[in-house]
């Protein structure tokens, strides 16, 4: 394979750019940002298309977005190359999604389209490997070239195969993971999820259902047995009840007899209480009373008023009498007074002679006294005495006059009083009153008004007596009526019995009715309980099996599931076996490829390091272990310095390419892979390339001008 020319219509920053290459080493030289990575990406895109990383929003990762020219919607270009002696051109147009891509592969000479398998990833056909493998082998990048296995690890697969099978790619990882996921679908790692555990659960639940169904059927049979026993019980209880009923009938009859007798006794008692002549006495008495009352007829209610009146009259009469007597008294008093008045002597008040004498004496006295001798004043004294004595009678007179006057007044008064009393009027009134009173008394035929009252009282007491008698009579009548009624009743009752004294029979004594009734009630309850139980069981018998599947049906389902489980079990075993065989085979292969790779890498490394490292061991994770030629300790490649690291991994890369592709390496693309090397080493590396991969076209992208001088004879492409 040799890439002759690439034409970039638009891709990244390039527009209508043509780059021509030659065989062997090609150096594509340009400053940073000149577009080397873009050209690499373009090459890759032409042969393998671009992924649809629409989910990756970051432009860095979304290659389509990254290289889509600004303001454009498509990328386009073509690559002209030779392969196996023929020349081809790949033209590709790419949009923002894969579906808008268009690729054509033409014969370079005729421009006719050639048919190749999967032209979308034409690189598979022309390079013989897929894009991932290409990236890991033929394309060597700038950054740390760590190779790691991933899910779609073609490289590892190829290494594992050691040579191209020419068939569809086999992927251990992919195959293994498919089988593993099938295994897990049957039974997950935890053992709890998956078709098999699900079936196991279903089988367990069916077993439980079968158990339940069996027990329901067993219960059914138990119930049938019980039903039989209950039927027997029911019959027995019915017979017992009938016997008790018969006894009760007897008891009832006996009770009736007793009742009959009792009633008869009652009748006798009642009859004895019937006394028609009990009423005689009271009636008679009543008649007497009525008679008496008749006699005292005159004393009625009105009599009281008359009595009152009589009393009033009597009082009036008494009052009048009193007044008259009073008048008498007064008249007497008057007479006395007059008499007294008349008896009062006429008393001359003053004894005039004496008085004059006296005065004269007095004057004498005084004159004598004065003129004569003072001792004659005593005559004065005597004169006074005489005056005094003369006046003695004055007082008497006065007293008598006074008395007379008093008496006169009293007499006048008294006369007035007497007059007021009016004797005549009194007398006449008194007479009237007396007359009325007497009339009244006569009506009642009594002598005193008290007798009216007595008569009234008598009358009243008679009335009371009469009423009492009437009540008594009524009561007695009632009682007798009642007795009569009772007698009728009892007689009727007795008549209602189906037998008479003569016809009733006496049978043997049985238990008292109350006890029998209690027993019958109890028996009825037993019967009821029995019937209830029977009904319940009948219901159960009819319905217990509702919705319950028969054991046979459940067992059949369970067996079907068990068969299914067994089948899945076999499949599970088969998958496990296949996976084990895979793993085993893979281990075997890895054990084999590692030495081969190690050998290739070792050889390259020896050359590269100028013999410094004698040997190398590569493990399945592409980790290297170096053995220095001078016998020093083994060095883990991870610990070596940067430059050596690069060298080692370059060796690894080349070794892998050699191992995987053998000598049929179509092309090598190196993106400034030797940038860390010094000039000498760079030269050695370039030579190495030529030795390890003779005649293989190498596209070396670099920004180091020094490389140009090192790579003598290389075809140079300068990027603007």
């Amino acid at each position: 394979m040799e890439i002759q020319q690439i034409t970039i219509e638009q891709f990244g920053k390039f527009r209508d750019t043509k780059l021509t290459f030659g065989p062997g080493m090609n150096v594509i030289y340009g400053a940073n940002e000149a577009g080397k990575s873009t050209i690499c990406a373009f090459l890759l895109a032409m042969f393998y298309g671009m992924p649809n990383d629409s989910k990756k929003k970051s432009t860095r990762e979304n290659v389509r977005a990254r290289y889509m020219p600004w303001g454009e919607e498509k990328m386009a270009g073509s690559v002209a190359f030779t392969h196996a002696g023929k020349s081809y051109v790949i033209e590709r147009r790419m949009g923002d999604v894969r579906r808008k891509d268009k690729v054509t592969v033409r014969d370079g000479a005729t421009w006719e389209e050639v048919v190749i398998p999967d032209k979308e990833e034409a690189g598979r056909y022309f390079f013989g490997i897929g894009p991932e493998a290409f990236r890991k082998t033929l394309y060597t990048g700038q950054l740390a070239s760590v190779i790691s296995p991933d899910k779609e690890d073609e490289v590892l697969d190829r290494l594992a195969n050691l040579r191209q099978t020419g068939e569809e790619d086999v992927s251990y990882q992919r195959a293994s993971s498919q089988l593993t996921s099938l295994l897990n679908s049957l039974r997950s790692v935890s053992g709890r999820a998956g078709r098999m555990p699900a079936l196991e659960e279903e089988i367990a639940s069916l077993r439980a259902e079968e158990e339940r169904s069996r027990s329901v059927l067993a219960q059914h049979r138990e119930d049938l047995a019980r039903v039989g026993m209950l039927a027997e019980d029911s019959a027995r209880l019915s017979a017992e009840l009938a016997a008790l009923e018969a006894q009760r009938a007897q008891s009832v009859r006996q009770g009736q007899y007793a009742e009959y007798r009792r009633l008869k006794d009652e009748l006798a008692t009642l009859t004895s209480r019937l006394q028609p002549d009990k009423l005689e006495a009271p009636n008679r008495k009543l008649a007497e009373v009525r008679e008496a009352m008749e006699r005292e007829k005159r004393f009625s209610d009105g009599s009281r008023a008359d009595y009152e009146r009589a009393c009033q009259l009597r009082r009036r009469e008494a009052d009048l009498a009193r007044q008259l007597s009073e008048e008498e008294t007064h008249w007497e008093a008057l007479r006395a007074l007059e008499k007294e008045r008349d008896s009062i002597p006429d008393i001359k008040g003053v004894n005039l002679p004496m008085l004059v004498l006296g005065l004269l004496v007095m004057v004498i006295g005084v004159v004598c006294g004065v003129v004569l001798h003072p001792i004659l004043f005593a005559v004065f004294a005597v004169g006074i005495f005489l005056v005094a004595v003369s006046c003695l009678s004055i007082r008497e007179q006065q007293e008598a006059q006074q008395k007379r006057r008093t008496l006169e007044a009293m007499i006048a008064e008294k006369r007035k009083t007497v007059d007021a009393l009016g004797r005549d009027k009194l007398v006449s009134e008194r007479e009237e009153t007396q007359a009325e009173l007497n009339d009244l008394l006569e009506v009642y035929q009594v002598k005193t008004e008290q007798e009216i009252l007595d008569g009234l009282a008598r009358r009243e007491s008679l009335e009371k007596e009469g009423t009492a008698l009437e009540r008594e009579i009524a009561l007695i009548s009632e009682q007798q009526e009642a007795v009569k009624k009772d007698i009728d009743r009892v007689t009727a009752h007795l008549a209602s019995f189906p037998f008479t004294e003569e016809t009733r029979e006496d049978d043997e004594q049985v238990l008292p009715l109350t006890e029998l009734n209690a027993q019958i009630t109890a028996k009825n309850q037993e019967i009821l309980a029995c019937e209830t139980a029977r009904r319940e069981i009948a219901y159960e018998l009819a319905h217990r099996l509702d919705g319950v599947r028969l054991p046979a049906e459940i067992a059949e389902e369970r067996e079907r599931k068990e068969e299914e489980l067994a089948d899945l079990g076999e499949k599970y075993e088969a998958l496990s076996l296949a996976l084990a065989a895979f793993a085993h085979g893979y281990e075997t292969l890895k054990q084999d490829f590692a030495p081969v790779l190690s050998e290739h890498v070792g050889a390259i490394l020896r050359r590269m390091s100028g013999g410094k490292y004698a040997d190398v061991r590569v493990n399945d994770r592409f980790e290297l272990c170096l053995k220095p030629a001078d016998g020093g300790p083994l060095v883990d490649a991870a610990y070596v310095s940067g430059g050596t690291y690069d060298m080692i991994y370059l060796a690894l890369r080349l070794g892998i390419i050699q191992t995987v592709l053998g000598v049929n390496v179509p092309l090598l693309v190196l993106d400034d892979s030797f940038s860390e090397y010094d000039d000498a080493r760079t030269k050695a590396a370039v030579n190495l390339l030529g030795e390890v991969f003779p005649g293989v076209q190498v596209l070396y992208f670099t920004c180091h001008a020094s490389f140009l001088s090192i790579a003598e004879g290389a075809h140079v492409v300068r990027l603007a």
């Binding site: 569809e168 059927l217 088969a574 296949a578 075997t588 292969l589």
Partner: protein
């Protein structure tokens, strides 16, 4: 006298080997119908007796509906006396339907001790004994002698025919005991295949077999025996009554290029009718993965299942030489003993390695 001798009907017992719940339900119905046919046969043949030699049903799993059906059917045989003995699946226990329910007047169920029921009409008598529990390790026939050898002596019994010195949990019956019994005809039940008339001493005896097969191990016609017995002996005639038969068919797939060819081969090889059940064993080398559903599609049968014992036609020997993952894988599996698991593992592994979708 003429009698129908049947047994082992096994009502309400699970059928195995049916992939379909609907089919299982239909099979249960088949059993019911076949029993109906036995009863009809008794009526048709104007049989004097109908002998049911045990295992009519399963005591634990019988449904009341089935019991009612059986009672009704047996009761409908007005001119036939029915005798029944309990087998190991339906022993006459205190809780067995044989004791709990009232059976029609014409039905006699033998007790758990040997009983004799006189049949004066025919100068005969019939002996019988039921299982009292699921296992009867002691022979129920041991030491038995008929009372009156002049009569036509019948016996109805459920048990297993064993050789001298052998044992059985299900009433072992020894030829020596049969020979010494003096019976005219011994109607047996338990073995599901008709034995044909057997003789020991002057006794004729037979297992009637079940009337309806229950699995592929019970292939062939099934039914009941019509026996004509008198004091001199018995003559037996087998009547096939089963609704469906089981067949196992072996089909060699070698050389067939596609399903249609195989289907034709299969159709040609079917021995039975569209009512029957088939087990198709595929053998030989398959040029393509045989899909059971496709193969069985439209096959005239009640049910069919495929047992795949084919080998895939891969050039495995060549593959194993390949020093690749595939090669090593094939080699490892080929070193193991051939078995369905190994064959499947090979199939899965190769498919997975080819990047194909593996179908379990």
């Amino acid at each position: 006298m003429k009698m129908i001798h049947c047994g082992d009907i096994h009502f309400d017992t699970p059928f195995t080997g049916l992939a379909d719940a609907r089919k299982a339900a239909l099979r249960q119905e088949d059993v019911r119908r076949t029993f109906g046919r036995i009863v009809a046969l008794a009526a048709e043949e104007k049989a004097d007796l109908l002998l049911i030699a045990g295992d009519l049903l399963d005591g634990d799993t019988a449904s009341p509906e089935t019991i009612r059906y059986v009672q009704e059917k047996l009761g409908s045989l007005v001119d036939t006396r029915v005798f029944l003995c309990g087998g190991n699946h339906d022993p006459v226990t205190p809780r067995s339907y044989y004791r709990l329910l009232d059976w029609p007047d014409n039905v006699h169920i033998f007790d758990t001790q040997m009983e004799c029921v006189p049949l004066p009409q025919w100068n005969a008598c019939i002996y019988g004994c039921s299982f009292s529990q699921r296992y009867e390790p002691a022979s129920l026939l041991a030491g038995f002698r008929v009372e009156d050898p002049q009569k036509c002596n019948l016996m109805l019994l459920h048990g297993q025919l064993v050789g001298t010195g052998q044992q059985s949990q299900y009433d072992p019956i020894y030829e020596a005991d049969i020979a010494q019994s003096g019976l005219t005809y011994l109607a047996l039940g338990h073995t599901h295949t008709y034995t044909g008339p057997l003789y020991a001493g002057k006794t004729c005896y037979a297992m009637c077999g079940c009337p309806e097969g229950r699995g592929f191990d019970e292939a062939g016609p099934r039914g009941a025996v019509v026996a004509e017995v008198d004091a001199d002996g018995a003559s037996l005639r087998f009547v096939s009554l089963c609704r469906r038969q089981y067949h196992t068919v072996t089909l060699d797939v070698t050389g067939a290029a596609h399903h249609e060819e195989l289907a034709d081969r299969l159709r040609a090889a079917l021995p039975g009718t569209a009512e029957d059940l088939y087990q198709i064993v595929l053998c030989g080398e398959a040029a393509f993965p045989v899909n059971s559903d496709v193969l069985l599609d439209g096959l005239p049968c009640f049910s069919a299942k495929v047992v795949d014992e084919t080998r895939a036609q891969l050039d495995l020997v060549a593959l194993r030489e390949d020093f690749s993952l595939r090669g090593l894988f094939v080699d490892e599996l080929l070193q193991m003993e051939d078995s369905p698991v190994v064959r499947r593992a090979m199939q899965y592994g190769l498919a997975a390695l080819s990047g194909e979708k593996v179908v379990l």
